[in-house]
């Protein structure tokens, strides 16, 4: 056995290890990339449909449209995909692939904001994508409004919120509370606040713009509030014109 304490051996070992591991990871990542991209695309479609109430929810659990059906369902329910840029509203059939995080960091004149118009049982849904930050990392989601600016459904997701606390923003009991809340406070934009205090645990007051927060997840909840308020606000000036 060679002397493993020699500097030259250590150096060679380090170089070989980095090359081998690097090659292995690069190979894995690039060979799996098409499948991963496909999965992410389906997931976006599932999330958008979930927000407008097209899902296979059973009691208490979140269940999306299965991936093998989602593409057909997506083209069935989403009748228009729009992109708002520089005050103009255009149609774009791949608007759902726009990365909102990247767009929000761009200059206003270059920013493309995707918006989805869905139709279910002769009712129109305006689905707005959301992006913001929670306690540890990014949070994002979709909110579906009807033509009266009443929330019809939401979907939230997160990258790394604490399991059991902040991660519960993607649980039914939290997301379902948003349905029926009014996003406009009279004629002013009011947003929705994730409120502490447990003054309305059954969420019976729908016109107060407040939903009950998750215990132990204050910062994630504040992140959800901020995300809804800042992102939806960008769309409000256009929604009046888009509504048919």
């Amino acid at each position: 056995m060679a002397n493993t304490d020699k500097n030259s051996y250590t150096l060679i070992f380090a170089v070989v290890m980095v090359l081998v591991v690097g090659a292995l990871l690069a190979f894995t990542a690039s060979s799996l990339k098409p499948r991963i991209t496909e999965n992410e695309r389906f997931e976006k479609q599932q999330n958008i449909l979930y927000a407008m109430g097209v899902n296979e929810n059973v009691e208490g659990a979140v269940n999306f449209i299965p991936t093998n059906k989602v593409e057909a369902e997506f083209s069935k329910y989403i009748k228009e995909q729009l992109v708002i840029q520089n005050g103009e509203v255009k149609k774009d059939s791949s608007a759902y692939l726009i990365n909102l995080k990247g767009e929000l960091s761009k200059d206003i004149s270059e920013r493309k904001l995707p918006l989805f118009v869905g139709e279910k049982e002769r009712k129109d849904y305006y689905i707005i994508p959301l992006y913001g930050k929670g306690l540890w990392d990014a949070i994002w989601g979709f909110v579906a409004l009807d033509s009266e600016y009443v929330v019809q459904g939401v979907y939230f997701d997160h990258k790394g919120e604490t399991p059991g606390l902040g991660a519960n923003i993607k649980e039914r009991y939290f997301m379902d509370d948003f349905t029926g809340e009014e996003i406009m406070n009279g004629t002013e934009y009011g947003g929705i606040t994730v409120a502490k205090g447990n003054n309305d645990p059954l969420n019976e007051r729908k016109n107060d713009g407040k939903v009950d927060a998750i215990a132990g997840a204050t910062i994630t909840g504040n992140g959800v509030t901020a995300m809804i308020n800042s992102t939806v606000k960008l769309y409000i000036p256009y929604l009046k014109d888009i509504k048919l």
Binding site: V18, I36, L165
Partner: protein, 215 residues
């Protein structure tokens, strides 16, 4: 004939009690605090750590004679990080739903001191088969404590187990809540995990006084 020799059985079973990674070796406390607010998260973490620790132990053990001792910690880190990333990528491609549940744990697994601790203390000096058993045993001991802590935190903090409302509905006031029981929201916060781990250590040492260190 026994399937495992006495020594091998010890490798598997000792970490469950008298040589438990969390309560005796005091490794992996950080993740035990972070993710035990729910029983489900505890179970997922326990299974993930078991996989990574068993496979990582075998890989390190196979390489133990060629790893230069000066950079052995870096080598261990590279092995465990590469392993976790590959598993994460494969899951993303073939089991996307599962990978979403696990993604939060990826960072926690790589930085889990139990993994580095077992590589350093065991796999570097023992053969692959026994390293494998050691990995399974230690991960099981770790997972056991995680599940016990997760059980009490979810039960007392949220009144549920694996998401099922076992104590009744706190909002509709059914079950225990009908007679005035309230969830203890404090159980959901990390300090309570430390207190629960402390209670486990206390119970364990009072039952087996040989575990009490002498000053």
């Amino acid at each position: 004939m026994a399937l495992l020799s006495k020594k091998d059985t010890g490798l598997l079973l000792d970490p469950l009690a008298d040589n438990n990674p969390i309560t005796i070796q005091v490794l992996g406390i950080c993740s035990a605090l972070a993710i035990t607010a729910q029983l489900k998260a505890s179970i997922v973490m326990a299974v993930s750590v078991m996989f990574v620790l068993a496979v990582g132990n075998v890989v390190i053990s196979l390489m133990r004679n060629i790893i230069p001792s000066k950079i052995r910690i870096i080598v261990q880190l590279v092995v465990v990080a590469a392993l976790v990333i590959i598993v994460d990528q494969v899951l993303k491609a073939f089991a996307y739903e599962l990978s979403k549940t696990l993604s939060v744990f990826v960072g926690l697994i790589i930085t889990n001191c139990i993994i580095m601790g077992r590589f350093e203390a065991f796999a570097l000096g023992n053969g692959p088969y026994r390293s494998f058993l050691d990995g399974i045993g230690n991960a099981a001991g770790y997972g056991l404590i995680l599940i016990i802590v997760g059980f009490f935190r979810e039960l007392l903090g949220s009144g549920t187990l694996l998401g099922f409302k076992v104590l009744g509905d706190p909002i509709a006031k059914t079950g225990l809540y009908a007679i005035g029981y309230e969830n203890n929201g404090f159980m959901l916060l990390s300090p309570m995990a430390l207190i629960v781990v402390g209670i486990i250590i206390w119970v364990q040492r009072s039952r087996n006084s040989a575990l009490i260190e002498e000053n």
